[in-house]
């Protein structure tokens, strides 16, 4: 992302979005980001390394990731917490907005980062000391073969890795969390004011958009802001947008009166993000929205979109075919930013599992059915699950099974 390195005098009046092609100017590197190998976009990690891989290396700065919540909002909330925890570890700034829970509660539940096995491949703070005599304390006399290996580090400051691992059984230490700057937006604390225009956006969304713009311009995340040596990324987490607590009746009625409030907000949010160094993750209770066409237009207004479908509470929880996984993950949309082709995932049938130290997303791999009585019922159910692919036409699930 070259715009960060260019002095403002050279910048042409058209190049004021956060997507820039890499040119020969020098790059100011922001900790916790890396350029994409495909199109040179600046990427940040979502906190879940397998999700990074799915999105093409990471989440591009200036884009929106939409997560369609699972039924009980357990795993989508977990991914949101991973995202915010990654921001704390990378020293990014956070912005959390919620209508249901206090953002402070969400921040207190962030998982603890695992720092013991952080090993840098090329430790930048350990220069090659092959020709210099070492200090007496550092030199190893017996295990001299291990002399030049990187030291195990426990400090957070020199972490230059992309993507970390978290232990979900522990919460983050308050000292680490308070080191990160965090902006909060808790809807009940904001007095609603009637907007002077008759726009379709609700007051809650207008207030949120206005607050976001204020934070972005005040803290200097604007791409057009004067260049300073330290640029940072703003990570925005919006919890459960579209739910009734935001004042939206999208999830309550079949024909919502404010059907276009959320889509107008998403349009404005994307416009805001494209001109700033920020990245947003939104969770949406899509299982409550009846109108599929509306869900389609919401998905198109976000750049990346995934949907989580957990097995909790459904009959698949006890199905032996799914015993290794906690749910299915559907990739609804992958963006193509500044290029024609997008990196589509190789496989559309993915499943996820939340382990203690990792949230893993794998290709749904069914073990061979080696039981004596092969039951055809389970296979029929499975066919319905794997044809939920967005790029193909409507594949009928073919639940007919022939029983002789």
């Amino acid at each position: 992302m070259s715009s960060v390195g260019k002095p403002s005098a050279e910048r042409s009046p058209f190049n004021n979005t956060s997507f820039q092609k890499k040119t020969r100017s020098k790059l100011i590197s922001i900790p916790g980001t890396r350029p994409s190998v495909q199109n040179g976009q600046l990427l940040v990690s979502t906190g879940v390394t397998s999700l990074d891989y799915l999105l093409g290396g990471g989440l591009a700065v200036g884009t929106v990731l939409l997560i369609e919540e699972d039924r009980y909002d357990s795993y989508s909330r977990m991914i949101l917490k991973y995202f915010l925890a990654e921001g704390v570890v990378c020293r990014h700034e956070l912005y959390v907005a919620a209508a249901q829970d206090n953002p402070d509660d969400i921040l207190q539940e962030l998982p603890a980062p695992i720092l013991d096995d952080v090993a840098l491949h090329k430790p930048p703070e350990q220069p090659r000391l092959s020709c210099e005599p070492q200090d007496g304390l550092d030199a190893m006399k017996i295990a001299w073969r291990y002399q030049n290996l990187p030291k195990v580090q426990t400090a957070l400051a020199s972490s230059s890795r992309f993507g970390h691992y978290y232990d979900v059984s522990k919460t983050m230490e308050p000292e680490i969390r308070q080191a990160a700057k965090c902006h909060r937006f808790y809807l009940p604390e904001h007095p609603t004011q009637s907007s002077p225009t008759h726009s379709t956006m609700l007051e809650s969304y207008s207030a949120l958009l206005k607050s976001l713009q204020e934070v972005i311009s005040r803290e200097g995340f604007d791409v057009a802001a004067p260049m300073s040596n330290s640029r940072n990324i703003l990570r925005i987490g919006l919890h459960s947008l579209g739910s009734a607590l935001w004042g939206d009746d999208l999830c309550c009625h079949d024909n919502p009166k404010n059907g276009r409030a959320l889509t107008t907000f998403l349009y404005g949010l994307r416009a805001l993000l494209r001109t700033s160094l920020s990245v947003a993750v939104i969770t949406l209770p899509s299982h409550l929205i009846q109108d599929r066409a509306l869900m389609g237009s919401i998905t198109r207004l976000c750049d990346n979109a995934i949907a989580l479908e957990s097995f909790k509470g459904s009959e698949r929880e006890t199905n032996p075919l799914y015993k290794d996984y906690h749910g299915l993950l559907h990739v609804r949309q992958v963006p193509h930013l500044n290029c024609l082709a997008s990196k589509l995932p190789d496989h559309k049938d993915l499943a996820f599992k939340l382990k203690r130290k990792q949230f893993s997303i794998e290709r749904l791999h069914l073990p061979p059915d080696l039981s004596d009585t092969v039951s055809r019922v389970s296979r029929g159910e499975l066919a319905g699950a794997t044809t939920v692919a967005s790029a193909c036409g409507s594949g009928s699930s073919g639940n007919k099974h022939l029983d002789f």
């Binding site: 997507f19 379709t200 889509t263 349009y267 198109r300 594949g395």
Partner: protein
């Protein structure tokens, strides 16, 4: 500009039918790669282009057009391209500031019930000043017939406008660009789902698509493959010519499969993809 698509549509930058209304549509797919084809085609044909880029930033189109061999920044400087960056203009309307700057083109966001009149006025002023009335001493360049490109119309539905208002807008644009000025109009409409669930509502992308399909002279409909997801073949394009000849309408349909690369898209007859053969 994709050479295979040019041969399918029998268009070249030097010769193309004028007065055409091309409708690009997709269902659960992404037809925006076709917009870049038409943008680079008409810029190379030295037409005066008015582009309403409502969903992406100028840099996005500029970067892609660079790979297709056309420089949008240069065209904008020379006056060949009039670009409306919808997202940027919309911010000043959605977040009301004390000092209201910005063109009135996106004013429909203030009150969607008013309709798209201000957007139409923007288009009209852009295509009407086609270099004739400039009268500069250094000689303003004469451009060809005006072309209007819209990416995309469905986002207007998402912003609160009714399908009727969007169809009125497209009708007005067609009247002034195709009939009056003998230019071309290319519009992109996106919809999803099976498309038979019109609950009698006024707002529906299905209604918009049916209305626009009736008005247009050439449609390119992009869909996913009916057999499922494939990494090497990204989908199929159905090209339909709706020409009025003599007493009746003659419609001709052709089906192609396509794959989008970094620098273009390739079109081939169904079943002849290089991945399969």
């Amino acid at each position: 500009m994709y050479t295979e698509l040019n041969s399918i549509l029998n268009t070249t930058p030097d010769s193309f039918t004028q007065g055409e209304f091309v409708l690009l549509s997709d269902r659960e797919s992404d037809a925006s790669f076709l917009i870049h084809h038409f943008l680079s085609l008409y810029l190379r044909a030295r037409c005066k282009v008015c582009f309403l880029g409502l969903v992406q930033s100028f840099n996005h189109y500029s970067a892609i057009s660079q790979r297709l061999g056309v420089s949008l920044a240069q065209a904008k400087e020379k006056g060949q391209l009039v670009f409306l960056e919808g997202q940027k203009e919309s911010l000043s309307v959605l977040i009301p500031q004390e000092t209201d700057t910005g063109s009135p083109a996106m004013d429909f966001l203030r009150d969607p019930a008013v309709g798209l009149k201000s957007l139409y006025e923007f288009v009209r002023s852009a295509v009407s000043s086609s270099g004739i009335g400039e009268g500069e001493a250094d000689g303003a360049e004469e451009w060809g017939p005006p072309v209007l490109l819209v990416d995309d119309l469905s986002v207007l539905l998402s912003l609160g406008l009714s399908a009727g208002a969007v169809m009125d807008f497209s009708h007005y644009c067609r009247a002034i660009v195709c009939s009056l000025l003998q230019g071309n109009v290319v519009m992109l409409v996106r919809c999803d789902g099976e498309g038979e669930e019109d609950e009698g509502d006024d707002e529906g992308s299905e209604r918009l698509m049916k209305g626009l399909t009736h008005q247009c002279s050439l449609t390119l409909h992009v869909q996913g493959l009916p057999t499922g997801y494939c990494r090497d073949i990204h989908g199929q394009v159905e090209v339909c010519w709706r020409r009025r000849q003599g007493d009746g309408q003659c419609t001709q349909k052709k089906l192609f499969q396509y794959k989008v690369h970094d620098k273009g898209a390739s079109f081939f007859a169904p079943g002849t993809s290089s991945a399969v053969l």
